[in-house]
């Protein structure tokens, strides 16, 4: 029974369904451990999203919906992870706007869910981005200027 709930939740998150949070609450009520939800539903769901991108089925709209569903589930799981602070080893890309927020959600998820550390994430700055920073004054910091490396 709990496997079915976890699988349904994974599918709901991967497809960006609005009922993902309800399914997560039901799973918790059925005594499914938060860690199990994270590892058997959310991480496979995000893997599915990645596969969807590789197969040209998913792009920004589908990712947005999936991340929105993921966030709604993380909201109900958050009390279970209270006290676990995000890794200091993840470089933060600072900025404003929903695109940055989306990136922030994904980084936090990778940090918390998969245990990625800073050395897993490589940011490249080529000449054109340097030019962009100089000319357009995009509100972001280079990795080398980040407090975390």
């Amino acid at each position: 029974m709990s496997n079915e709930k976890v699988e349904a939740l994974a599918k709901a998150v991967a497809l960006g369904k609005a009922d993902a949070q309800k399914l997560a609450q039901e799973a918790l009520s059925s005594k499914v451990a938060p860690e199990e939800i994270l590892k058997k539903a959310l991480i496979p769901a995000m893997k599915k999203v990645g596969e969807g991108m590789q197969e040209e089925e998913y792009a920004f709209p589908e990712i947005q919906s999936a991340v929105k569903a993921l966030q709604s589930v993380l909201d109900v799981l958050r009390p279970a992870f209270k006290g676990a602070s995000p890794s200091a080893a993840i470089p933060k890309w600072e900025g404003s706007g929903e695109l940055y927020e989306l990136g922030g959600h994904l980084v936090n998820f990778l940090d918390k869910g998969v245990g990625f550390k800073g050395y897993d994430l490589v940011l490249f700055f080529d000449e054109s981005i340097r030019g962009l920073l100089e000319q357009v004054d995009i509100p972001c910091h280079k990795q080398s200027e980040s407090t975390h490396k």
Binding site: E57, F60, P61, E127, L132, Q135, V136, D137
Partner: protein
């Protein structure tokens, strides 16, 4: 050959004298003149005389084969519908949207009451039409003068809705996005009609910055393909002109490539200008030789043109032209959107000069010169 004859030769797969060069659009000509966008645009007006001066001077000093009729940005139609524009103080790519026309989906019924939108009721459109008239009169019939704008979901983004909201709409409420695309394409077509009536004498140049950068090929079939087909048909029927498309995204995957093929074979796109993800060899093998339509090539990456020096630009252009091989018919040189508008005029000039040098036909004949 005049530049107009040169473009016609490319379009008909005949030998031009030299490969023509498509200008860097948007703010480049304005910055090249030493002005900022606030010097030519406000929320409600564009100074057509200044824009025409900048674009004509850009064409002549840099050596482009044609000018754009005006400074085309993402703000047309927005202020009359209640949105506001962000006019950059520094070197932004273009004017962008500050407050969108539709902040929430519930705003749509009230916006619909203001449609269809007459381009002549937007002072920025009137200024641009004035620029087209001045440029058209100046260049006569020797240079092509394209009409240009965006259609489908790109037009819906520009006219109505910020990109993050619109892409979420596409996933959660696609019927709503259908409505926005339809209304925005009606506006696009009217805006293009006005440009032809003001003096544009050549192809229509459509831009699509969603492509596969932002949406999947499946969504592209719904939110891009039918609207491009609609505008292509209108331009052909009412003005007897072809439409070229500049589209963003990686089209090398099978589903994306199928969308591109449908844009050509079903929608009737007559020429393509892909982004920097597609090198000249890919363009040759997958577009020009396969579908027998003209296409733009770009030097790989933006860096050589942005950073120079001219000698490096020269060698990159040489490499790009050599990659298309001989006889090399059906190509024009085109800019990458990653080439920032504030790039020095000298770099653009080096790019154009190198194209005219290494793009002398028959290709390769520069070696004997």
């Amino acid at each position: 050959m005049t530049p107009k004859e040169r473009l016609a030769a490319v379009d008909e797969f005949r030998e031009p004298d030299v490969m023509p060069v498509f200008p860097r659009i948007m703010a480049q000509a304005v910055y090249g003149k030493g002005w900022m966008l606030k010097d030519i645009s406000t929320q409600t007006e564009i100074n057509g005389e200044k824009v025409a001066e900048a674009f004509l001077e850009s064409m002549r000093t840099i050596g482009y084969d044609w000018p754009f009729g005006g400074y085309m940005d993402h703000g047309f139609g927005v202020p009359p519908l209640g949105g506001t524009l962000k006019i950059p103080d520094k070197f932004g790519i273009s004017v962008s949207i500050d407050e969108p026309v539709i902040k929430d989906r519930s705003d749509w019924p009230s916006v619909q009451k203001k449609l269809p939108l007459d381009p002549m009721k937007d002072g920025r459109c009137r200024g641009t039409l004035e620029s087209i008239k001045i440029i058209s009169k100046d260049i006569g019939d020797t240079h092509p003068l394209f009409a240009a704008y965006y259609t489908g979901i790109t037009a819906a983004n520009i006219l109505f809705r910020k990109v993050e909201a619109l892409t979420l709409d596409a996933s959660e409420d696609p019927e709503f996005v259908d409505e926005l695309c339809k209304a925005a394409t009606v506006w696009c077509n009217d805006w293009i009609r006005a440009q032809y009536e003001a003096g544009c004498n050549s192809f229509c140049y459509l831009g699509d910055h969603f492509g596969t950068d932002l949406i999947s090929p499946k969504m592209g079939e719904r939110f891009i393909l039918p609207y491009i087909a609609d505008t292509v048909a209108m331009v052909k029927k009412e003005f007897g002109q072809k439409t070229y498309l500049h589209i963003h995204g990686n089209f090398k995957g099978p589903k994306a490539y199928n969308l591109l093929e449908r844009l050509v074979k079903e929608a009737g796109v007559a020429g393509l200008h892909m982004d920097e993800k597609h090198d000249p060899k890919w363009i040759r093998e997958n577009i020009v030789e396969k579908w027998h339509i003209p296409a733009g090539i770009i030097v790989h990456g933006a860096d050589p043109i942005v950073s120079g020096p001219p000698e490096k630009i020269d060698s990159h252009v040489k490499e790009a032209i050599e990659a298309i091989g001989q006889p090399g018919l059906g190509y024009f040189m085109a800019p990458s959107c990653q080439v920032l508008p504030d790039t020095p005029n000298a770099h653009f000039k080096a790019w154009v000069d190198a194209t005219h040098k290494y793009g002398k036909y028959p290709l390769g004949s520069w070696k004997q010169a």
